[in-house]
C-alpha cells in the first residue's frame, strides 16, 4: 500500500476540519443511513485519511454514496463536519481523474445536472435526464415513474433561460473549469 503523508494535511486544509481529533467512536457510521451499502463507513474513511491511503479513499464508492444528510457531523462528539470532508474528497477525486472509477452513474448525473444549470441558469429536468440516460446507457430504469410524471404535466418540455445565464457561465469558468 502506498502511503501519501501529505493527504491528511491537504484534506484538513481544504475541508477546514481537524481530523486528528477523531477517536473512532463510530457514531458517524452508526447514524449514516447509507452505511450498510458503503465499502468503507465514515469512521473508517477518517482513519484511512490519517493513514494516507489516498488512492483507496478517492477511488471508493463511499464518497459518492454519501447523501450529504449531515447526520454524521451533528452527532460527532468532536464536531468534525464529515459531510464537508466528503465534499472535499469528491472534489479531489474529480481532480485526480478518478471520478468514473467507482460510481460512474452518480458522477454522470451530477455532471448533467450542473451542465443544465450552466446552459439555462436553472435545471431543465427533461433534457438533463435525457442526457444522463444517453451517457449512462441506463435507459430503462424508472421509465414508468418518468412517464407518470410527464402525464401529470410535472416535467416541463420547454426550458426557462434566465437573463443572467451569461453571469452563471462566468461563475462556472472561475470555479468548475479551473479544477477539472
Amino acid at each position: 500500500m502506498k502511503r501519501d503523508k501529505e493527504f491528511l494535511r491537504e484534506v484538513e486544509r481544504r475541508s477546514g476540519q481537524d481530523l486528528q481529533s477523531c477517536y473512532q467512536c463510530g457514531k458517524c457510521s452508526a447514524g449514516c443511513p447509507v452505511s450498510p451499502y458503503k465499502d468503507f463507513k465514515p469512521n473508517r474513511i477518517i482513519r484511512m485519511i490519517q493513514y494516507g491511503q489516498k488512492e483507496e479513499v478517492l477511488k471508493s464508492h463511499a464518497i459518492w454514496l454519501c447523501v450529504s444528510c449531515m447526520t454524521c457531523g451533528v452527532r460527532c462528539p468532536n464536531d468534525i463536519d464529515i459531510a464537508a470532508i466528503m465534499d472535499t474528497l469528491r472534489e479531489m477525486a474529480v481532480e485526480a481523474g478518478y471520478s468514473y472509477d467507482a460510481e460512474r452513474n452518480v458522477v454522470i448525473l451530477h455532471e448533467e445536472f450542473v451542465r443544465s444549470i450552466r446552459i439555462w441558469g436553472r435545471v431543465h429536468e427533461a433534457t438533463m435526464l435525457g442526457l444522463y440516460k444517453l451517457r449512462s446507457l441506463d435507459l430503462f430504469t424508472d421509465l414508468i415513474p418518468g412517464i407518470k410524471l410527464m402525464l401529470k404535466m410535472k416535467i416541463p418540455f420547454i426550458p426557462t433561460l434566465i437573463k443572467g445565464a451569461g453571469e452563471v457561465r462566468g461563475m462556472f469558468k472561475k470555479t468548475y473549469d479551473r479544477k477539472q
Partner: protein, 283 residues
C-alpha cells in the same frame, strides 16, 4: 407583510402542487411573496459534490439579488434553503471564503439579508395564532407523520432551525390545523433523494424504513417541506402502500377550505383523495 421568495427549480416541475398551494395560502392570508428577480438554480447536491466553490457561488448569486430588497427571503424547498444558508455562512463576517466568493459572483455582501425557510415564516412570522383564526375546516381525524428530513434542520449551526433530533414545529402546525400529529422516530431520517435516480434499490430500502415507521406509529399520511422528499416518499414507497405525502401548505389550504384543491391532489403520485374522503375532507 411581504417577503422575498426563492421558488427553486422544482416549483415549476415536480413540486408544482407545492407552488400552487403556497400562492393560494399566502394570497388568502394577505401576505405577499415577490420572486427574486432572475434567480438561478441553487446547485442542489450536484454542484457541491463536484466543486465546492461552485456549490457556494450558485446560491450566493441569489443572495446578491435578494439583498437588493429590504425583505426577509423565504425559501420553500428544504434543499434550496440549506444551500442558501451554507452560502450565507460562507459569506458571513470572518469567513475565509468570503472574498473569493464575492469575486466569483461579482458582488459585495452586506450581511443584512435574513434567509428563512417558508415553514419557519408560516409558523413563527405569520404565527400559529393567525393561522388558527383562519381554520374553517379542521383536519379532524387526519393522523399525520411530520417528516423533516435532513436539509431543513441539519446542520443547526447553518440552518438555525433549533432541535435537529426531535424538531416539533411541523407537529405544532398540524395540531393548530386540527389534525393529529403522530409521535414517531424517523422524522429526521434522510430519504436518500440524491441517490434516487442512480441507486433506486438503496432509496427504496430507506423509504421502506421511513414509511414503515410512520405506519407502525399510526400515521396515514406525511407532511413535508421539500420537493425532493415529497416525490421520493410517494414514488419510492412499495406499490399499494398508499401513504400520501402532503406539502405543509396543502394542509394549511385544506384547513382554510381554499379553492382549487382538486388540482393539487391530481398532481400527487399517491392520491390523497380516498383518505380525505373517508374523513369528510374531500367530496
Amino acid at each position: 407583510m411581504e417577503f422575498s421568495f426563492y421558488p427553486g427549480c422544482t416549483a415549476h416541475s415536480t413540486a408544482i402542487e407545492y407552488s400552487m398551494s403556497i400562492h393560494a395560502v399566502f394570497d388568502a392570508l394577505g401576505v405577499s411573496l415577490s420572486d427574486i428577480e432572475d434567480w438561478n438554480c441553487c446547485g442542489a447536491a450536484a454542484a457541491h459534490s463536484l466543486n465546492n466553490m461552485l456549490g457556494l457561488a450558485l446560491p450566493a448569486r441569489n443572495i446578491a439579488k435578494a439583498q437588493e430588497k429590504d425583505l426577509t427571503l423565504a425559501v420553500p424547498c428544504a434543499g434550496c434553503f440549506n444551500a442558501l444558508k451554507r452560502a450565507e455562512k460562507a459569506l458571513a463576517p470572518g469567513s475565509d471564503k468570503r472574498e473569493q466568493l464575492e469575486n466569483i459572483v461579482g458582488f459585495t455582501y452586506r450581511d443584512t439579508l435574513r434567509i428563512k425557510s417558508l415553514v419557519d415564516v408560516v409558523v413563527n412570522d405569520i404565527g400559529l395564532d393567525a393561522i388558527r383564526e383562519r381554520v374553517t375546516q379542521p383536519l379532524a381525524g387526519l393522523k399525520v407523520a411530520s417528516y423533516y428530513g435532513c436539509a431543513l434542520v441539519r446542520d443547526p449551526n447553518v440552518t438555525g432551525m433549533g432541535d435537529h433530533e426531535n424538531p416539533v414545529f411541523l407537529d405544532d402546525l398540524i395540531g393548530c390545523l386540527g389534525g393529529t400529529p403522530i409521535d414517531w422516530s424517523a422524522k429526521t431520517d434522510c430519504c436518500g433523494a440524491d441517490l434516487a435516480l442512480t441507486h433506486g434499490a438503496i432509496v427504496e430500502d430507506l423509504i421502506a424504513k421511513i414509511v414503515g415507521n410512520a405506519v407502525d406509529a399510526g400515521a396515514d399520511c406525511f407532511v413535508c417541506c421539500c420537493g425532493l422528499c415529497q416525490i421520493n416518499l410517494e414514488m419510492r414507497q412499495a406499490a399499494g402502500t398508499g401513504v400520501p405525502a402532503f406539502y405543509f401548505t396543502e394542509l394549511v389550504g385544506l384547513a382554510m377550505d381554499l379553492d382549487g384543491r382538486d388540482r393539487w391532489w391530481s398532481k400527487h403520485i399517491v392520491s390523497p383523495v380516498e383518505l380525505l374522503k373517508s374523513l369528510g375532507l374531500a367530496s
